[in-house]
């Protein structure tokens, strides 16, 4: 399984879309890494997110790859992921932070 964590602003991505987002991440992980995603969906309550010390609407989607990626492939996957996210949620690119990490690098 491909580990994925989504830290999302509550209310920004309506609950009815959570299932769609999880399916979308599954399809993305299957197509990109050959395995389905195991996603932790972590909602941020209104007023609990900040950027530059001010209230924020940014969400974070973080995926751990199952193999080391070269820079070109990683950037391509990151752009695909952000495009999927913004298309589905209606967020702008300024409201999503995407991370694709290599495996077993974080302590």
């Amino acid at each position: 399984m491909i580990n994925c964590t989504c830290i999302v602003q509550e209310g920004q991505t309506p609950d009815l879309r959570k299932g769609e987002m999880l399916n979308l991440l599954n399809r993305f992980a299957s197509a990109s890494f050959g395995q389905e995603a195991q996603t932790a969906w972590v909602p941020v309550a209104p007023g609990h997110g900040f950027t530059a010390g001010k209230p924020s609407t940014s969400s974070v989607v973080s995926i751990t790859s199952n193999e080391p990626l070269n820079p070109e492939r990683r950037e391509s996957l990151l752009r695909e992921l952000v495009a999927l996210w913004t298309d589905e949620t209606g967020c702008t690119v300024d409201e999503v932070v995407a991370v694709i990490s290599d495996p077993t690098t974080q302590r």
Binding site: T5, I7, A40, V42, V44, A45, G47, H48, G49, F50, T51, A52, G53, S56, S58, V60, P71, R74, E75, L78, R79, L81, V82, V93, D94, V97, A98, V99, I100, S101, D102, Q106, R107
Partner: protein, 138 residues
């Protein structure tokens, strides 16, 4: 990025203390690293199992761009613990802060790969140009 995740025992932080801690974290990160404030994200949870408190009342896990010295990371963690104690009205022994690193090239923000530390000016110029272009189409 950086992303600072704060987990607190339920009822420890109110709206004002969360805002104060978010501001303090932003100031600490920027003063220690020289990074721009617009990069600094802070989110708050209560009793979130994904970010274990263990025996503490307040815990911050910071993920920052790779390239800072161990001294800088220790300084950030120490100052954040002090800010948690001050604004969370908690003993410093009840706080914990851990800093970990992610290569900038692993992160896409504002539609672009994050710049390496110290290379932010060109990145921001590209962001401003993009936004100006988007604005001209509306």
């Amino acid at each position: 990025m950086p992303l600072y995740i704060c987990n607190a025992r339920k009822g420890t932080l109110d709206e004002a203390s969360r805002a104060s801690i978010a501001e303090a974290i932003t100031n600490i990160h920027c003063s220690v690293t020289g990074a721009p404030a617009d990069f600094v994200h802070a989110v708050f949870f209560e009793d979130a199992p994904q970010f274990p408190l263990e025996d503490k009342t307040l815990f911050v896990r910071g993920t920052i761009r790779k390239g800072r010295t161990d001294e800088q990371k220790d300084q950030i963690a120490g100052l954040i613990r002090a800010a948690l104690a001050e604004h969370g009205d908690t003993d410093a022994q009840e706080t914990n802060a851990l800093i970990r690193e992610t290569p900038a090239s692993w992160v896409l923000e504002g539609g672009e790969i994050m710049p390496e530390p110290g290379e932010e000016a060109e990145w921001f110029a590209a962001q401003e140009a993009r936004r100006a272009g988007e604005g001209s189409h509306h």
